[in-house]
């Protein structure tokens, strides 16, 4: 299972290649040299030629993509399944062993190496984090990557891929307790100290509001419950109850996916399960020593937290905008920050702004391409509404610009992006009942909880323009 971090590191395992040769016999495709590999890869993922030019091998309509699984044609044959993920501007690649005999191209499900390799490269990407621009092949971070692979996948066989865990294993001695106190694989280093449990619920909301008849707005609320349990003992077990207080939705939390160390008890019997309404009452787990994501969930929200109307019109030499935003009364009216960003693409720089706002203040971004309305920490308590009207003028487009221009946002196609964060609150009103937390063996642990909700890509599209929606009538 060779691991590659483009364009820096390159690791391959002779043991795995030997196994592949034996398993695949004459159908074995050798891995080319790193230089040749890089050249072939750049071609395969379509970076050699500009995107606007039609290249049949890349753009042909018959080509079936199975991202993140790719096929890399080489002079000696096809390398498949090559897993490629992009993170922090780097490509992470992994070519897992296919140990299914008798079939040249088995279904993805039947190749466990794909999911294992996928997890490995995701964990490696998280472990490395973003790299600086001056990173070279000899940089410490990339040497760390080799250390990670030695520990997480000795001889190319992934064992424990958690980045934090590998870090601990590299820094500490593994648990050497008596056989009766055997710890799970994800907890090789016991904690010694004051017992504490941190639980953080972090929720995000994405949305696209259109203000178009016959077109529904779309939004998604989702979140993660993260936990760090500093508990003594080889294998302490924690149980906690997830709760919520919403009256408007029967089951605000759904699509729960749990960390493999956790399991849960259900509030419905299996025969009564209706797809997504599965919700556990209690989640039990033996925690790993580091901060980890206990579960992901989505929330079934009936109303948007902030509803807005964005109306932009073009005059002869200027643009006028009117923006109204209203906070849902059910949402906590106290923000860490709340601002609306109105980017103007394909227009040049903003040269003149004349604005009137009911609350907050208006500034332009440093690159003079975004109008930023800082609403502040609260909406007016009596109305929960805020409005902005503004007239803008722009420089000509002839000035060269290296900044990104969204090709969709031309003329009246524009949006306003609401950026906010609220602490001690979640839209789903999901929370952890501290009293429900129990630890076994019994320990008096300090329990700290926190929760917040923030927006990601929360867009209000111009009522007078077009938007990326599936209404064929307007295309």
């Amino acid at each position: 299972m060779p691991i590659i971090i483009m364009p820096y590191a390159y690791g391959r395992y002779a043991t795995v290649e030997r196994r592949a040769k034996i398993l695949q016999g004459e159908q074995y495709t050798p891995i080319p040299s790193d230089v040749e590999f890089e050249e072939l890869l750049v071609h395969e993922i379509g970076l050699r030629f500009p995107a606007y030019k039609f290249i049949e091998s890349r753009d042909g309509c018959k080509k079936v993509l199975q991202k993140p699984v790719f096929q890399l044609p080489t002079p000696a044959g096809n390398l498949w399944p090559l897993i490629i993920i992009e993170q922090n501007g780097l490509l992470f690649l992994c070519l897992p062993l296919v140990d299914v005999q008798g079939v040249s191209r088995p279904p993805l499900i039947q190749i466990p190496g794909i999911s294992v390799g996928f997890s490995l490269v995701l964990s490696l990407a998280d472990y490395l984090g973003p790299l600086t621009h001056n990173t070279t092949e000899t940089s410490v971070r990339l040497i760390d990557a080799y250390k990670y692979l030695c520990e997480a996948a000795p001889f190319g066989t992934p064992l424990n891929t958690s980045g934090a865990l590998v870090h601990q294993l590299l820094d500490s001695k593994p648990c050497s307790g008596s056989p009766s106190l055997r710890s799970p694989a994800w907890r090789p280093v016991p904690y010694k100290g004051k017992p504490q449990v941190y639980i953080i619920i972090s929720e995000q909301v994405r949305c696209a509001q259109y203000d178009k008849a016959g077109v529904d707005d779309v939004w998604a609320v989702y979140g993660t419950v993260s936990c760090k349990a500093e508990l003594n003992g080889a294998a302490p077990e924690v149980s906690l109850g997830l709760d919520y207080h919403r009256a408007d939705c029967a089951t605000p939390i759904q699509d729960l996916v749990l960390h493999p160390c956790a399991h849960c008890s259900w509030n419905q019997t299996l025969t009564g399960i209706e797809d997504s309404t599965l919700l556990p009452t209690m989640v039990c787990f033996t925690p790993p020593p580091e901060m980890f994501v206990l579960c992901h969930y989505t929330a079934n929200m009936c109303q948007l937290p902030i509803r807005g109307f964005y109306q932009m019109r073009e005059m002869e030499s200027s643009v006028t905008i009117m923006l109204q935003v209203k906070l849902n009364p059910s949402v906590q009216n106290y923000f860490d920050y709340c601002e609306v960003q109105m980017p103007f693409y394909n227009r040049g720089e903003i040269t003149h702004v004349d604005s009137t706002v009911s609350v907050g203040k208006v500034v332009t971004s440093n690159d003079k391409r975004i109008l930023v309305w800082n609403i502040g920490e609260k909406f007016p308590s009596n109305t929960l509404e805020a409005s902005l009207s503004s007239t803008l003028k722009f420089s000509s487009m002839s000035t060269p610009s290296n900044t990104y221009e969204d090709p969709f946002c031309t003329e009246l196609n524009a949006y306003a992006k609401v950026v906010f964060k609220v602490s001690n609150y979640t839209l789903s009103e999901c929370w952890v009942d501290v009293k429900s937390i129990s630890i076994s063996p019994s320990a008096k642990a300090k329990v700290l909880t926190a929760r917040d909700v923030s927006s990601i890509d929360y867009r209000i599209w111009n009522s007078h323009g077009n938007a990326p929606i599936a209404d064929c009538s307007q295309s």
Partner: protein, 624 residues
């Protein structure tokens, strides 16, 4: 089983799916199986998970839908999750629609209208980006629709969608033609392909000429495809081309790409359609092209096809222009191969590269006369050395010295079997900063059996006296008409290659010995008084016996020897272009030679030292 089904661990989930495929109903209850599929569907929709993980889940789900009726019916019930939204990435939209089309049933909720309207987002992105960037994803979905449900209302709607799409966005023509080819291969009857082709052709013919001109390159792509179909009327195509030629300035503007595309359509017509059906019209078109085009290449091709049309019978034209088989036999030769009208760059390689040198450049042993003359006006009566020196140096600076010429030969290496014959070869010597640009050498034809070598005279004009390794590139056309490139082994220009003898002085009674003594005296004086920092002197002792040293002098340095001052002392004068001098006074003893060196370019002292040491090591100068 349920406690594992909620895991976020991808390998564990994969394991459960493997068990499901292996044990089917023996391991999973219906409710668990339903939950399993739901889980995959909802993970594909789960905004909290990485996009790559969501894609992987949807790929897994797609595989279940293909084999499990339960999975297919369940996805139909929850199809709202598969309708792409603005919150999905382009890859997710594509994958969701692939699954959605697997649930297609025109009597259910997943009907034609839903599938076509789901393309709306991608359609808008294509429209507003005005480039092919978003085209591939859109056409992949369209082809998936078509290939999975041929002969249905959905397939017919896809055809209509493409027809409307390309009318609005002509820049998508390459995608449309690719789509058409795939449809043609998928269909047994080929009716959709022909209907679409005719419909789009009809749209183009009905366009205003200004619109046609604006997107001419795209429209010519379509015409070429249409011209290759015997069922499409050649008259319609020729009429359109004639209108284009007469009402637009494409021939006079000399757009190479468009001109070649136009010729390409003509060739397709000649290849495909009987000439009796289009003789007059095509002749008229070709005549228009070769009389009005400003581009010589296009003129000549049009004239050639015109000559074929009027002088050859139809069967011979077809034979000459027959397309090369797709298997690409090396021995295949046809006019179609040699006269390509497609000037677009092939996607993988436009030039065939050879890893090993297909030729070798070797020096020939013959030596050329390097002597040259220099006009220096010197007053012989005064015999003043300083005056001679000044005037000589002034003349040298303004004179054009002879270039360095080396006879060489291009030959096929002994074990080279890749290329045995070629024509139109060009040897390019890469530019070096110490030399003036070197002209390319043309090799008309070489054949390993009949013409195994080609003599050339390499010519170098140094800007600084510096031995250099020159990279050699050889481009040529192989017998199939393909352009090929081979890097040859570098050519080493040695230090002694740069040697020229002291000039014969014209216009003054001054022989080489006088000149040598004058230069020697001047360089030494300059060194002594430090008046010119560029002059330098040095001494090297060579452990060479007298007999060997004399042999070297008489054989290899003969041209540069000025005089035997006395029996054991030899003067050697060398000019290094563009204007440097190296002077040796060699005191030859029985077992050693003491070499006194004077030069007006101190920077070349290390090179001189290396040269003399090589001479000592090998018993002859440098590597000669």
């Amino acid at each position: 089983m349920m406690k594992y089904l909620v895991t976020m661990d991808v390998p564990l989930l994969n394991l459960l799916l493997m068990w499901k495929t292996m044990f089917a109903d023996d391991l999973f209850a219906d409710a668990e199986e339903t939950y399993l599929y739901t889980r995959l569907l909802r993970d594909g929709h789960h905004q909290s998970l990485p996009i790559t993980q969501r894609l992987l889940c949807l790929h897994w789900l797609e595989q279940f839908i293909e084999v499990s009726p339960l999975a297919a019916s369940m996805q139909s019930q929850q199809h709202h999750l598969l309708v792409p939204t603005a919150l999905d990435s382009s890859d997710l939209r594509l994958q969701k629609l692939r699954i959605l089309t697997a649930c297609y049933d025109d009597s259910s909720d997943v009907d034609t209208r839903l599938l076509i309207s789901s393309l709306g987002i991608q359609r808008k992105l294509v429209h507003y980006s005005q480039s092919g960037k978003y085209g591939p994803a859109l056409f992949r979905v369209l082809y998936t629709y078509f290939s999975r449900h041929p002969g249905t209302e959905l397939a017919a709607e896809v055809c209509r969608f493409v027809e409307v799409l390309v009318q609005a966005e002509p820049f998508l023509m390459p995608h449309v033609l690719d789509f058409l080819k795939c449809v043609q291969k998928t269909e047994v009857q080929g009716s959709c392909y022909h209907q679409m082709l005719l419909c789009i052709l009809e749209q183009v013919t009905q366009h205003d000429m200004a619109v046609v001109q604006e997107n001419l390159s795209y429209h010519l792509m379509l015409l070429k495809e249409a011209a290759a179909q015997p069922s499409v009327s050649s008259q319609k195509i020729i009429q359109l081309l004639l209108s284009v030629c007469e009402s637009t300035p494409i021939l006079t503007e000399g757009d190479l790409l468009v001109g070649h595309q136009l010729i390409g359509v003509c060739r397709s017509l000649l290849q495909t359609h009987p000439t009796r059906d289009m003789f007059e019209e095509l002749a008229d078109l070709l005549h228009t092209v070769f009389t009005r085009s400003n581009d010589v290449g296009i003129q000549s091709k049009a004239k050639f096809y015109y000559a074929m049309l009027v002088k050859l019978p139809d069967s011979q034209i077809k034979d000459l222009l027959v397309k090369a088989p797709s298997t690409g036999s090396d021995s295949w030769k046809s006019m179609a191969n040699l006269m390509s009208e497609d000037v677009s760059i092939p996607e993988r390689v436009c030039v065939i590269k050879f890893d090993n040198p297909i030729l070798q450049l070797t020096r020939k042993t013959e030596s050329l006369d390097k002597s040259f003359r220099l006009a220096v006006a010197v007053d012989s009566k005064t015999g003043d050395d300083s005056t001679l020196f000044t005037r000589y140096i002034t003349s040298m600076k303004s004179a054009v010295l002879p270039s360095i010429e080396i006879p060489a030969s291009l030959t096929f290496p002994p074990n080279q079997d890749a290329v045995k014959r070629f024509y139109a070869g060009i040897l390019t010597i890469d530019r070096d900063e110490d030399y003036e640009a070197i002209a390319e050498y043309i090799v008309v034809y070489m054949d390993a059996a009949a013409m195994p070598s080609h003599d050339i005279l390499l010519t170098f004009t140094p800007l600084r006296p510096s031995p250099t390794s020159f990279r050699l590139r050889f481009t040529f056309t192989d017998m199939e008409g393909r352009t090929c490139l081979s890097m040859l082994s570098p050519f080493q220009l040695r230090f002694d290659d740069l040697f020229l003898p002291l000039p014969i002085i014209d216009g003054a009674a001054c022989n080489k010995l006088q000149l040598f003594n004058c230069l020697w005296q001047s360089f030494y004086n300059v060194c002594s008084f430090n008046t010119d920092p560029s002059c330098a002197s040095s001494i090297v002792v060579l452990m060479l016996p007298q007999e060997q040293m004399m042999s070297i002098l008489s054989a290899d340095l003969k041209e540069y020897v000025i005089a035997l001052e006395y029996e054991e002392c030899v003067s050697v004068g060398i000019v290094l272009p563009p204007s440097s001098h190296v002077l040796f006074k060699m005191v030859i003893e029985a077992e050693k030679t003491i070499v006194h060196i004077a030069t007006d370019n101190w920077e070349i002292l290390p090179l001189i030292n290396r040269y003399l040491l090589d001479m000592q090591a090998t018993g002859k100068p440098a590597d000669s």
